[in-house]
Amino acid sequence: MLEHIPVLLILAPLLAAFLVTGLAWIQSAYCLPLALAGLLGSLLASIAALHQVMAQGALSYEMASWPPPVGIELRIDLFNSLVLVVVSAVSLINLVASWEFIKREFEDRKETFLALYLLFVTGLLGVTATADLFNLYVLLEITSLSAYALIAMGPSSRAPLASLHYVYLGVIGASFYLLGVGYLYIMTGSLNMGDIASLLPAIWSSQTVLVGFVFCLVGVWIKMAFFPMHIWLPNAYTYASMTASRVLAPLMTKVMVYVMIRLMLTVFGAQYIFRVLDLGPVIVWLAVLAIVAGAVMALVQRNLVKMLCYIIVSEIGYMVGGAWMGNQAGMTGSILHLINDALMTFAVFLAAGNFAFKLGELRLENLRDLFARMPLSSAGFVLAGMSIVGIPPTCGFFSKWYLISGGLQAGQHAYVAALLLSSLINAILFMRVVEYAYFGEVRTGHGHHGGHAHGGEMDEAPVAMVACLLLVVASLVLVGLYSESIVSGMIQPFLVRSFV
């Protein structure tokens, strides 16, 4: 069975999704275990894939036994095996953590929600594993389609509208990507990433390839919410059900960053991107704008989740800037930050979800006296916040270190300044939350769940939710401590061929 690992890690959640929809009509009690089993299977398979890749190099799986340019290939190398592990782990942990939430928010249709959740994860895993540009589009659309529905199901009355706006932009993004693929196809006649990479050097000077690249890039940028195209993200993730945004926020944007880096390094090649095109400086400036704008807009927000959403916008700026720095340190930082940011964002959203489970709407004023009521979740939130700010033992520090050194090497001082500024603003943002949560006294007759908000008695979220949060926070520190070996063992070997 070992040779089937690349496809098994996609099939496990897929088959689970099928069976969940079937079982929902017969015996709905089996749905959750089945979904968990599917996600666990995919986590195990991706860990096995990571192991195999470390041992013997990239895995290639020829779908239906047709060799690559004719058939579809799955290709797992050092870079995406890492992303696969993160995606499957985050989605599994989120399901464990959010089950109480799902039961509360979707009483009579939680099985349908589960099925859609599994489809979403399947899509993400497929996008990450595939080596075929068109297959990537199809899987991207599965992911987006389920994301639209998951967001529209949010408890807020504004969720459907936010989701519809996401649909418009998402479709433009996906179509731009498809158009870019079409431009590459008309010039090369192939859809396989490796095959295109070998055909491209002969036609580097072609305008069509350039425009194809730009359209792929802009499409992916829309999907990842890169600054001027970010307008769909904050509303969509804020008004979505917390269960959905907990998995969307860390994974969707990061996987799109993965796609961008994959396109840059594997399809077009660093040579073309940085030497022939020389778009780097322009895009780094865009990234600077994204970082500053995201940070500033986060300052204005009075809603905790929306604030976190704008932090995501600014983090996307970090990663795009790092990737376009044109040197190995920047790219290393970008990839490491992709992994770290997925975990950090997941941790803060898990904590925010725990708060929301007890408090309802997360306006900053509602958070008063939170430390006394939910000490564990709050502690987790603070640690995750520290990681986002970039305080040493946590992983956020290390990727920022690489990003900054990349920026300095490339002489992009504006980027470094923006990164430092936004870290500072992040520190202010989290301090503000802590101030509300720790020092703020209880106002009389406040807000949403006034009933059980008095005094200092503990009112922690369910055990599973807290345990998952603590697990993820611990992983933040662990990944931080081992980031040296991740970089030297996985990221640098992957980048070696690109940056000679």
Partner: protein, 275 residues
């Protein structure tokens, strides 16, 4: 917004037009798209899969993995529509209308009436449009032909233009036609919600199942030639049979999902009164 739109549109259009100058001439048989991978499909597909319709061969065999996810997109859309719209609770409404057929008298009930199932009474929609005899008769005559033709399109997809999606959409459209020309309840009484869900489920499971079966028989996922081990045919014919199998799966799933989407959107998820 209009101005931003115009600027974006002109910018995009200009960039795209700029790129067309570099395109190979239209219809040039020597262009890269016609010489790199596609000749393999054209020249070898018949030999390797025994299917003369190259589009079907590429769709259901060479790129069957794509097609599986394409089915999954449709399936996901059905699940999403159900999740978004379906509401089981009763809604507030002005009342129920029931017509006594022999006399033609319409009775208005404030609360939900309990009417014995008989041929003397029929329920009317709140916004009722008289059913036109001509439309109903024509549709009644047309429906079986549409459905038969859609089955033909599915079954004959290997040899002529057609396939699972096309046939499935057509069959789904016949169900929608039934719902429009009669009413939603009539259509749902023929093909209920549970049956539609079951069909959608069966369709995707048939596709995925064939893929997994190939894997269990020792090949790669969706490698239909492995089916030759359990079917009395040789590997190339097994590929053709595998293709028909997945196309049928696709057809069933698409039929069901088209109907699910229509029913849920037309009745805003309540499944009692539609267009």
């Amino acid at each position: 917004m209009k101005r931003i739109g115009l600027i974006v549109v002109i910018l995009c259009g200009a960039v795209l037009l700029y790129a067309t100058r570099d395109f190979p001439a239209w219809g040039d048989p020597a262009s890269p798209a016609s010489t790199h991978v596609s000749p393999h499909y054209i020249e070898h597909a018949l030999q390797e899969t025994e299917v003369p319709n190259l589009v079907t061969a590429v769709l259901a065999d060479y790129r069957s993995y794509d097609t599986m996810f394409e089915t999954l997109v449709i399936f996901g859309a059905g699940v999403a529509c159900f999740l978004l719209l379906r509401s089981f609770g009763a809604r507030r409404r002005e009342g129920w209308y029931v017509r006594h057929i022999p006399t033609g008298v319409v009775i208005h009930f404030r609360k939900r009436p309990r009417i014995p199932h008989s041929r003397f009474f029929e329920r009317l929609d709140t916004e009722w449009v008289p059913h036109d005899l001509i439309i109903m008769t024509i549709c009644r005559i047309l429906l079986p032909f549409i459905q038969l033709f859609s089955l033909y399109v599915v079954a004959h997809g290997d040899f002529s233009p057609g396939g699972g999606f096309q046939g499935g959409v057509m069959f789904g459209a016949s169900l929608v036609l039934m719902a429009i020309s009669f009413d939603l309840r009539t259509a749902l009484s023929r093909v209920g919600e549970r049956i539609l869900a079951l069909l959608a489920f069966l369709g995707v499971v048939l596709y995925g199942g064939i893929g997994v079966l190939c894997m269990l028989l020792g090949g790669e996922f969706l490698d239909y030639s492995e089916l030759a081990k359990i079917l009395p045919v040789h590997a190339e014919e097994a590929r053709a049979l595998g293709m028909i199998g997945v196309e049928v799966g696709v057809g069933i799933a698409v039929t069901a999902v088209m109907a699910v989407i229509y029913v849920n959107i037309a009745s805003a998820g309540r499944h009692d009164e539609g267009l």
